[in-house]
């Protein structure tokens, strides 16, 4: 029998340190739902999703009950819709978003990702239509998430797409202004997007993926914080070792759940994503881990180094615990979804510039950042360009999920509710980027792309 201390430590992680499996995400190919008639294509999409995912939520709940580990979200990601919809001759893809929304609600998942386009090197006819449809699609659906990949290490940055995304984000905020611009919380702009990401809002089912795949995202910032709490004053080597051991345990739970879920759902086991995903709950914060290392408030000098250590140790510990690691695999720093980040912004310690620096060493990017509603579209595009450049040069994923909250200004806060949390409105640099963004064209792929 396993020893008593180990059993009780697992229970403690689950009961008082918020250990959970953040998401079981079913990646589903919709490539066989293509039709020249959009209506027929939508029918095929609904029928496919509701048949493949009909047991997804129930299976998640069964595993949760049997293993006693909370599984917070059950989600679906699908093939980027621009690829599916462009065989039809319609000029607006909102009907596809509505079909996805209907199917997702029928099977009871909380989010469905994949109203997406990959435009890092240019636009196809369908990509253009999809991008134009994003604001309305996000305003008229509840659980559909959208993402657009505008850059990559091997492709460079599509600055025409970057310019367009600034305008699309503004329009999305405006169409959802009665809910704090929440449409933008469901829209991610990527550089080096990954095809097997289980986390929202940026999940889509990549074109090289199989028919039906289960990807799992683990969590556990509270467990990591608690593990290093007793190490006050000790050198970083010991912090790193402790985080590695903790990440190993957390990831093993993810591996177990992923294996079990894929078997029960008759799907392939995709990957376990090693990201440390925070929630707005107290004790489930990445910022508080960084502070536990000795920073008085997240955002002060030293934060980037602390995050680099955390991110690296999580990967080192997790990689041996799972047979297939993938997705984003890094620490998430979404401001509105992390109680410690929110507090740091309110205190004036954490700025947009510091967050940008932090994204150089962790996986995600500027995530769930609220800025004033009057932020110019070109400034948002320029923020996207900066993040895309970091991703492109460092051969890593970066993303921007930014909300220009209509009618709000610095000093206000916006409440999104649930896992999306509360965001203090952050100031941006008022100097203009208009002429820079209006150039358009492409920033060529960097020399790092030439590996052959």
């Amino acid at each position: 029998m396993i020893n008593q201390g180990e059993i009780l430590s697992t229970i403690k992680m689950i009961e008082s340190e918020n250990l959970d499996v953040r998401t079981i995400t079913m990646g589903l190919s919709l490539r066989d739902c293509v039709d020249t008639d959009a209506k027929k294509s939508c029918e095929k999409i609904i029928s496919k999703i509701t048949s493949y995912a009909k047991n997804l939520v129930k299976t998640g709940e069964d595993i949760e009950a049997e293993y006693g580990i909370p599984i917070v979200n059950k989600r679906i990601s699908v093939t980027p819709i621009s690829l599916i919809a462009e065989s039809s001759d319609i000029k607006n893809y909102v009907c596809f978003a509505k079909a996805l929304d209907k199917a997702a609600k029928e099977v009871g998942v909380d989010f469905l990702g994949g109203f997406s386009a990959l435009v890092e090197k240019g636009f196809s006819r369908g990509d253009k239509i999809l991008l134009d449809s994003i604001p309305e699609a996000l305003a008229e659906t509840d659980v559909v998430c959208s993402s657009v990949n505008v850059a990559g290490t091997k492709e460079g940055i599509n600055m025409d797409a970057v310019k367009l995304m600034g305008q699309i984000i503004k329009k999305t905020a405006s169409l959802t202004k009665n809910h704090g611009g929440i449409g933008c919380a469901k829209l991610v702009v990527f550089s080096n997007a990954v095809p097997d990401n289980p986390f929202m809002a940026g999940a889509f089912h990549g074109i090289g993926e199989g028919e039906c795949v289960i990807n799992v995202g683990v969590s556990g910032p509270g467990v990591v914080r608690s593990a290093i709490k007793g190490l006050k004053g000790l050198p970083f080597d010991q912090i790193s070792e402790t985080i590695k051991k903790t990440a190993f345990k957390i990831t093993r739970v993810g591996q177990l759940v992923a294996k079990e879920a894929s078997e029960r759902l008759n799907a392939s086991f995709g990957i376990v994503d090693l990201s440390l995903a925070p929630t707005p709950a107290v004790g489930d914060s990445v910022a508080r881990i960084l502070e536990e290392m000795g920073l008085s408030t997240c955002g002060t000098h030293g934060t980037t180094a602390a995050l680099a250590l955390l991110n690296d140790a999580v990967k080192k510990g997790g990689v041996m615990a799972s047979s297939h690691v993938g997705g984003l695999s890094g620490a998430f720093i979404p401001v509105s979804e992390d109680e410690g980040m929110i507090a740091a912004v309110k205190k004036g310690s954490l700025s947009l510039d510091k967050l940008e620096a932090m994204t150089c060493v962790c996986s995600v990017g500027l995530d769930m950042i609220a800025v004033p509603g009057h932020t110019p579209a070109e400034t948002i595009s320029a923020i996207i360009a900066d993040e895309a450049a970091i991703g492109m040069i460092n051969s890593k994923t970066t993303a921007v999920r930014i909300i220009p909250v209509p009618g709000k200004d610095v000093g206000d806060t916006v409440e999104f509710g649930g896992l999306l949390g509360t965001a203090p409105i952050m100031p941006y640099n008022k100097e203009s980027s208009v002429d820079f963004i209006n150039r358009g064209g492409k920033i060529p792929a960097p020399i790092q792309a030439l590996k052959n």
Binding site: M1, I2, Q4, E6, I7, L8, T10, I11, D62, A65, E66, Y67, G68, I69, K249, R252, V253, Q255, L256
Partner: protein, 89 residues
Amino acid sequence: MRAILTVIGKDKVGIIASVSGVLAKLNINIMDINQTILQEYFTMIMLVDCSNMSSSFEQIKTELKKVSEDIGMDIRIQREEIFDSMHKI
């Protein structure tokens, strides 16, 4: 299927009797028991075999919840694999 059943709470008379009574009713075999009392807190860990159980896992949890409320202790049952995977390579 094997599972780990944990009972934690203030020590009192009849804890093992209440829990094992329910397990017997559901045809769940107790394979190992380990119990300690730490600062008045009773901690019991049981390894149980559920392969011949007479009801679903969900029902077992419901039955144990009733016992938990009756005797005022926290009772959990979790499949053994979660502990194995976290603590063994």
